[in-house]
């Protein structure tokens, strides 16, 4: 079964998070986390997020090993947040939960 998985990471972990995402990304572009977030919706960027359509029984299990930071044996590997939209989350409700906003355009 496939679902949208949303992952939010702190800006400081972006490089490591992109490297870990590439373990599961066939494109291996290092560009999984490029969309910025912040508490005010204005610069500077404090977090980044991605929304990834993936199989929950295979790829998602592997992704969680690296992105469920607090349950990882290394502790807060990315201090990240992982959400499964098939469980009722929406991008809007996730942003409300984590108290972040997308960087707003000029208009």
């Amino acid at each position: 079964m496939k679902s949208y998985i949303v992952i939010v990471i702190p800006e400081g972990k972006a490089k490591d998070a992109n490297a870990d995402a590439d373990k599961q990304d066939s494109g291996k572009t290092g560009k999984t986390f490029t969309v910025g977030l912040s508490p005010t919706g204005q610069l500077p960027i404090t977090h980044r997020w991605c929304c990834w359509w993936m199989d929950k029984d295979t790829k998602f299990k592997e992704i969680k090993k690296d992105f469920k930071g607090k349950s990882d044996k290394d502790g807060d590997k990315h201090t990240d947040m992982v959400f499964d939209l098939s469980e009722g989350w929406t991008p809007e409700s996730i942003l409300e939960k984590v108290k972040l906003k997308t960087i707003q355009p000029e208009l």
């Binding site: 572009t29 560009k31 999984t32 991605c50 359509w53 993936m54 991008p91 355009p105 208009l107």
Partner: protein
């Protein structure tokens, strides 16, 4: 079976009758030719009328032409991620996305039996940067034709965007779902225009026609922004994506075509007729 029945069966197997025209898989018959074809046995075959029949088409991606790989060896099936949108303009301006999380989803049977490409509104978009430079300059005409459905209303996401990422003074030409806001910026001057507020999540089609100095936006065949002045200085675009990767939009996409010219009223009517004939559900 007599000749008349044979031809009738043959035509039926190759085309769909819409009540006005027989439609091949993609496209419609040229109206001038179709008018001369006897539906019941004329036996005249004709190339379908397609958006590429208008001069200056540099990109045409109907949703049927999606692949899961860069080499275009595996056509997308339902729920597959789209790596490549295969440009049918012959300009080889394929739209691609290498990063998995940013790929659109291919969904079958979304509009009159045709598939759609869905962007999640978070980070999805197909890139076609090769197209960006052709709109650089100060008075460079362009036209965009799109068949789409917005899923999340009141979003700042944008259908598409030409931009120059990485420069201190940004340059953009974008259209967004939020009141169909259009703006162009060359780092010095900034112009914008607001159209009708998007109020539903139904399928629509639009034509944005930019003469280089004025702008017209037609939605569902009706003029929404009528030839307004829309001009700034020299812009240098380096990226083009849809939905705009800078401000992604939660939307479905059925077709997009881009022209490196301003279209005549007659050409715009042909495009609109093409849209409503291929997709009878459109308004």
């Amino acid at each position: 079976m007599d000749r008349r029945d044979f031809l009738k069966k043959t035509v039926k197997s190759m085309f769909i009758f819409t009540g006005a025209l027989w439609i091949p898989k993609t496209g419609i018959l040229r109206p001038s030719i179709a008018a001369n074809i006897s539906m019941m046995g004329g036996g005249v075959s004709s190339a379908p009328w397609l958006p590429t029949d208008i001069a200056g088409c540099v990109l045409w991606v109907p949703s049927e032409y999606a692949f899961t790989d860069a080499g275009k060896t595996t056509p997308c099936g339902n729920n597959d991620l789209i790596y490549t949108g295969d440009d049918q303009s012959d300009g080889n301006n394929d739209a691609t996305q290498a990063t998995e999380s940013k790929r659109l989803i291919y969904l079958t049977n979304q509009l009159d039996g045709y598939p759609a490409w869905r962007g999640d509104g978070v980070d999805d978009g197909l890139s076609c940067d090769a197209l960006a430079p052709i709109f650089s300059g100060s008075d460079t005409p362009m036209t965009v034709f799109m068949i789409y459905k917005i899923i999340t209303l009141e979003s700042y996401g944008r259908f598409w965007g030409f931009s120059n990422i990485g420069v201190t003074v940004y340059e953009q030409f974008r259209i967004g779902a939020y009141s169909y806001n259009l703006f162009r910026h060359d780092g010095v001057a900034f112009v914008s225009e607001l159209g009708t507020v998007q109020a539903d999540t139904n399928w629509h089609y639009l034509i944005l026609n930019f003469t280089g100095t004025t702008l017209t936006l037609r939605i569902d065949g009706v003029v929404d922004i009528d030839d307004v002045a829309f001009d700034v200085g020299v812009c240098t675009f380096t990226t083009f994506s849809f939905p705009d990767l800078g401000y992604p939009l939660n939307m479905d996409h059925a077709e997009m075509a881009i022209y490196n010219s301003s279209l005549s009223a007659g050409d715009m009517t042909l495009l609109e007729t093409y849209a409503t004939t291929k997709y009878p559900s459109l308004p």
